[in-house]
């Protein structure tokens, strides 16, 4: 684990990753356990569908709330808010720590005095971020698959994999934004704060877009638009959405290398 920067970074996070995986699994377990009672509760379904469309759009995934189907239920209870919230916290935190954390702790000087280029360092940190998000996503996917079987939800492993992939890409888009901000400023709180603010703004724009023509007009700017526009549990993956979020993540990593290459490191 100490053979390269990215594996060492993962090693530092081994316990954190374990506990986040447990947390994600617990979320899935709770949702799966409550599913049978929700499914059979017609009052709840009537209540939800009696809500104004504007409110429904805030909680929905793919624009609808449908508690009577497993895909609709998981979409709005898990994928629309809780899962992205948790994964974004991890990804933004890890992205902000990647460069700025080393710089603030004072270990970056020594690290970059070794035969390691700045570009290489950023790329290794980006790979570590990708690996962290992948590990959590895999744990999440596994929990979903097991939970769905236990609760007799008619959703296949493939559909879960597609939805989890979208979740991972969304987390990576914001994680690499935090990485780039940390590489540019050297300050962890700035990087995490700005990236988190961007995520909140993106989420609000996407979820409130149906209420406002202004927001609707800028909805395409929000990464959440590509994440939540279609419910992959119901409709499968859409190539455009995958491409946009992947491109955002790659752009974040590229910006990070340029930003670190150009500046003086703070001591």
């Amino acid at each position: 684990m100490l053979g390269s920067v990215w594996t060492k970074t993962l090693r530092d996070l081994r316990w954190s990753l374990l506990w986040w995986s447990v947390g994600l699994a617990a979320l899935v377990a709770v949702m799966a356990a409550t599913w049978p009672s929700v499914r059979d509760n017609e009052d709840l379904d009537r209540l939800v569908n009696g809500l104004p469309p504007a409110l429904r759009s805030m909680f929905g995934f793919g624009g609808t709330i449908d508690f009577t189907s497993a895909t609709g239920y998981l979409g709005s209870r898990v994928f629309s808010f809780m899962a992205p919230l948790l994964l974004l916290i991890v990804a933004i935190g890890a992205g902000a720590r990647a460069i700025a954390g080393e710089e603030e702790r004072g270990t970056l000087d020594l690290l970059l005095s070794l035969p390691l280029s700045r570009r290489r360092l950023v790329l290794e940190k980006a790979v570590a971020l990708g690996a962290e998000v992948s590990i959590l996503s895999a744990a999440f996917w596994l929990a979903l698959w097991i939970g769905a079987r236990a609760a007799s939800m008619p959703v296949g492993a493939g559909r879960f994999a597609g939805a989890t992939l979208m979740l991972a890409l969304l987390a990576l888009a914001f994680g690499t934004l935090a990485l780039a901000l940390g590489a540019a400023t050297g300050r962890r709180t700035v990087a995490a704060g700005v990236a988190a603010a961007a995520a909140v703004a993106g989420y609000l724009v996407q979820s409130l877009a149906p209420l406002s023509s202004t927001l609707d007009a800028i909805d395409w700017l929000s990464p959440f638009h590509y994440y939540a526009a279609a419910n992959p549990l119901q409709e499968g993956l859409q190539a455009r959405n995958v491409h946009v979020l992947s491109a955002l993540a790659a752009a974040g990593a590229a910006c990070a290398t340029v930003a670190l290459e150009r500046r003086d490191l703070s001591s």
Binding site: S4, L110, P115, D264, S267
Partner: protein
Amino acid sequence: MEPAIRAVALTKRYGRARGVSGLEFDVRRGEVFGFLGPNGAGKTTTIRLLLDLIRPTGGQLEVLGVEPRAGGPALRRRIGYLPGDLRLYESLTGRELLTYFAALRGADDLGDAPELVERLDVELDRRIGALSRGNRQKVGLVQALMHRPELLILDEPSSGLDPLVQQTFLELMREAAARGATVFLSSHALPEVQEVADRVAVVREGELVLVDSVEALRAKARTRVGVTLAEEPPPGAFALDGVEELRRDGNRVELAVAGEPDALVKLLAAFHVVALESREADLEDVFLGLYGERTTGAR
């Protein structure tokens, strides 16, 4: 062969007053070069320029024949560095840290580390976070030396080391120079480097005040003489050419003597001398003369 380090009008300005300006010096291959100055004089700024951690705003700099930024990882492979404000990964043990750094240097093994660990008596199997400052500094020294670099850049390497380890450290520097390595040694205190350095440069407020051989400096240095007399001497009793009264405490007087002490000895013959001691010319005194104040002596 080109010098190990060549600085020409090297300048680094920050927004504020800090930085260095117009530094001109060469460090020859195989020499131990002391880079001296009070804290905040620009020593660390210069060192971070050498390692491409920061970039100059003016002038030229060559390290082992190449500009640091152009040299990149290939250049840094040939350098060993100990930062002044040493921060290591606290959750790792010393052994893990050395393993990590060896891997990042592309080395198959720990190089000279086992021998260095033995000689410096480093605690390798405790978390670095649990080590004392001196023990962390030793881990830092081992990582700087383990790959037998051509150029050693050490920023205040002695800080936190106890006197015994300090001796071992000086031996290591001599050995490094003996096998052809160049050592760039920064310090705020001259006694730390005068034993090993061939030449020293002195910086003050970002500017180079002097570059000279230690021998030449020593020739300029004054001898410290302390005399204790039976009675308190009258004021101005030792007002001779080349003699300066540094301190007086009742019957005891401390003097700095330049050149031959003959006149002073003859003058002292007139007094009842209870005790007399003289200390070998100390470069600290040259320093004090240069600075005109006790900036470096305050330790």
